[in-house]
Symmetry: D2
Subunit: 153 residues, 4 copies
Amino acid sequence: MEDPTQQEEQASAEVRERVRDSFERQGLMAHLGARVTRIGPGRVHIELPHRPEVTQQHGYFHAGATSAVADSAGGYAALTLFPEHTEVLTVEYKINLLAPAVGSRIEAIGTVLKSGRTLTVCRLEVFGVQDDGERKLVANGQQTLIRVDRPEA
Amino acid sequence: MEDPTQQEEQASAEVRERVRDSFERQGLMAHLGARVTRIGPGRVHIELPHRPEVTQQHGYFHAGATSAVADSAGGYAALTLFPEHTEVLTVEYKINLLAPAVGSRIEAIGTVLKSGRTLTVCRLEVFGVQDDGERKLVANGQQTLIRVDRPEA
Amino acid sequence: MEDPTQQEEQASAEVRERVRDSFERQGLMAHLGARVTRIGPGRVHIELPHRPEVTQQHGYFHAGATSAVADSAGGYAALTLFPEHTEVLTVEYKINLLAPAVGSRIEAIGTVLKSGRTLTVCRLEVFGVQDDGERKLVANGQQTLIRVDRPEA
Amino acid sequence: MEDPTQQEEQASAEVRERVRDSFERQGLMAHLGARVTRIGPGRVHIELPHRPEVTQQHGYFHAGATSAVADSAGGYAALTLFPEHTEVLTVEYKINLLAPAVGSRIEAIGTVLKSGRTLTVCRLEVFGVQDDGERKLVANGQQTLIRVDRPEA
């Protein structure tokens, strides 16, 4: 399965900077070794390379690591559609672990399904990716987020 | 809110050893700094101390860290009711983040609601705990798990 | 399993009237034959008697009927804690069907877990009830709701 | 938004008959007035016309009715990929109500995301459809189902 998103549109420079600034302040993402690899309007990709620190007892990616990058991808996808001086909080999400999360890395994609004034709903997808580029859907979820106004400094 | 589980029953020594063995093979749990603090029949507690490596951009516990320990607590709660030579996989879970996850640590509690031959359903609760012992429910979820037979070595 | 809620507190007369007024305007609830049987602060019970019109292909209560009364019970539980001239909308819910929903009736109980300014989270439980009063948990869920201000007439 | 599924493949005659037989035994679906409108391999459509019997207090489709047809669409989508003499049960589902469900009818589409030996995961979509054919996504969900062997008669 090829990555159908190779050609997809980028968000504006201002939005991309806002996402990267927030991402860099997330201690957990750095600690896991995750990185943002694409920031489109309403769609963000986060990758997590495989290493023992992110596994469960069989050496696969831990469902908690899979969910953490999926949750962040959805949160930033929502944020790309918000005005400046706002923030996003996850209200809830649900995720199905469809297959053992194997691969040299996983790629989480958050996509906005519905962007409302208060609430946003995202689709969450996580693919296991092999070194040869082979991709397999290993988790699929749905997330609700809320927009919060942030006072200007 | 006091911890109502102080007096609760412990699982058998065999079951506790099985849970601890599996937990120690989870690279992610060690990497986050989580530890199992109680193993009862159908109920497991996991604690995660606060440190920058498990936070989101405001210094609270990251939803991904909160979910990871909740998911593991539910998985091991299910495992306590399984026979030997079986394993547990998370099918799916849903979690609501009810309040900012603040505290010197979080405590995740997984409790079996229904234990079937194939599928188990757990309730997931995560409390933020202050140094003075004050506890607040910060996340609440529900999880479906499947039992898998493991060939004897 | 006895009903542990026999003695529970009632909501105020104003709140109970508000809930009953709204319930009576729900065409679906009347069409299914559901009725509100208890209105406490943050907790509402709805019962649905068994008849062929609410079944699936094996004669059990249909998951759709089970969910419909669970969703309404949670919505009205949220509403009991709202001020006048507000309304409630379901944002999302998740429900596990734990056992075949058999019985002469089902009883759905919605209970508020967290009541916020904008969002409310409820626990949803559905019991199958036999004529002799025996009760069994047949579904368990979790629901997010949003408060909406309604202009005064 | 046009219906992108106009041209989609039909399931075999045997499978379509199996789905229709089961659907006709669901008292709830007849009572609501729902009908199966398309049976493809791994994908089933169910329509529900608007009438007062399926509404909530504002005259929109009730979330319970929306969910009931979504749940059935997913269940039958799973069934189309099963062998004969098997049945399907809903394990759980999660649904977001994205917009008021208005229209002369709603159309629920269940699509299999992952079909395993024991468990199947479906995407659930519900569209509000106007008389002029305009379609709007009003609910989106995700569902887990289990396959059950049925003894031959």
